[in-house]
């Protein structure tokens, strides 16, 4: 009984890592690649570690697995957030199927500060925003 359960859980974990790696190849845009990869690999590694901790009836294995999953859950979203922010700031183009971009033009280019209210942005930034969208459309087509 417990063997069947372990087989199911570890298969799901391995499959989600496989889908993450296929997603790296197939996704059309940097942000989608990041989005697919980070979460699916976190889930996959977490499920495999849970399997290991059920499989070996040893306290040290269980505590190590819990610690690894805990630190993975803490650190993976922060890494994804930092990579995504850096990519957006350096102007990595969004996919041409993107329907809305509410972050465009909200950065202060000199101080790197981010506004929360769109009405606070000075009008010169708005011009930059239109240029930015035109540029990304050219690059992705």
């Amino acid at each position: 009984m417990i063997n069947i359960l372990l087989a199911i859980i570890s298969t799901i974990g391995a499959l989600s890592i496989l889908f993450a790696s296929i997603g790296i190849l197939r996704m059309p845009d940097f942000y989608l690649r990041l989005s697919v990869t980070v979460k699916a690999s976190t889930l996959g590694v977490g499920l495999l570690l849970i399997c290991a901790s059920i499989m070996f009836p040893d306290v040290s294995v269980t505590t190590k697995a819990i610690a690894i999953v805990f630190f993975l859950i803490i650190t993976a979203p922060i890494g994804a957030h930092m990579i995504g922010r850096a990519a957006y700031f350096t102007g990595t183009p969004l996919w041409k199927g993107t329907i809305v971009d509410q972050l465009a033009g909200m950065y202060n280019k000199e101080t790197h500060e981010l506004e929360s209210d769109p009405s606070q942005v000075p009008p010169s930034e708005e011009l930059n925003e239109e240029e930015n969208i035109a540029r990304t459309e050219d690059e992705t087509d």
């Binding site: 989600s16 942000y31 989608l32 989005s35 979460k39 306290v59 269980t62 957006y88 199927g97 981010l114």
Partner: protein, 158 residues
């Protein structure tokens, strides 16, 4: 609140020491037993927050796991089929969470759900910008997130 949690931990350690088996499941059982004993002993106290909060935390964990599995299935289906179904977009999300700890937990949970990725937080901690894979309507997405993850998380933390 903290006092009751520490008392509960102490009771579960006593249970583990008395039964003598250092297994994870035994510790969980001791924790449940201690929770039950504390609940019976504190029925007449005015501060009942701890006993509402623990079931809410457990239900939040299950809710989050369910959401994560659903979103993973959707992404996996999109990855292995040849056609692209997604409509990505960057959404501005006004936060209800005030302190840095609440914002940190909320953004971790949003980032762990497949299909959503935090891009940046504004300078005054009032809005976050989320990259979403399946976006039909930005207002509807913000409403779903507000009534789903954020409401449940703030109920636990406040």
């Amino acid at each position: 609140m903290i006092r009751q949690f520490l008392m509960n931990l102490l009771l579960s350690f006593i249970w583990v020491a008395l039964t003598g088996s250092m297994y994870y499941s035994n510790f969980v059982f001791g924790f449940m037993l201690g929770f039950f004993i504390l609940w019976i002993m504190n029925r007449n106290e005015t501060d009942q927050r701890y006993f509402y909060r623990v079931p809410k935390i457990i239900s939040f964990i299950f809710y989050f796991l369910l959401e994560m599995i659903k979103a993973n299935l959707q992404v996996a289906y999109d990855v292995i089929t040849p056609k692209y179904f997604f409509k990505p977009g960057v959404v501005r999300y006004p936060l209800n969470a005030k302190t840095e700890f609440e914002i940190n937990l909320l953004s971790t949970f949003i980032s762990l759900t497949p299909g959503t990725l935090i891009l940046d937080i504004s300078e005054d901690n009032k809005t976050i910008y989320i990259h979403v894979m399946y976006l039909n309507d930005p207002d509807e997405f913000v409403r779903n997130l507000k009534t789903g993850v954020e409401r449940r998380l703030l109920e636990i933390l406040r």
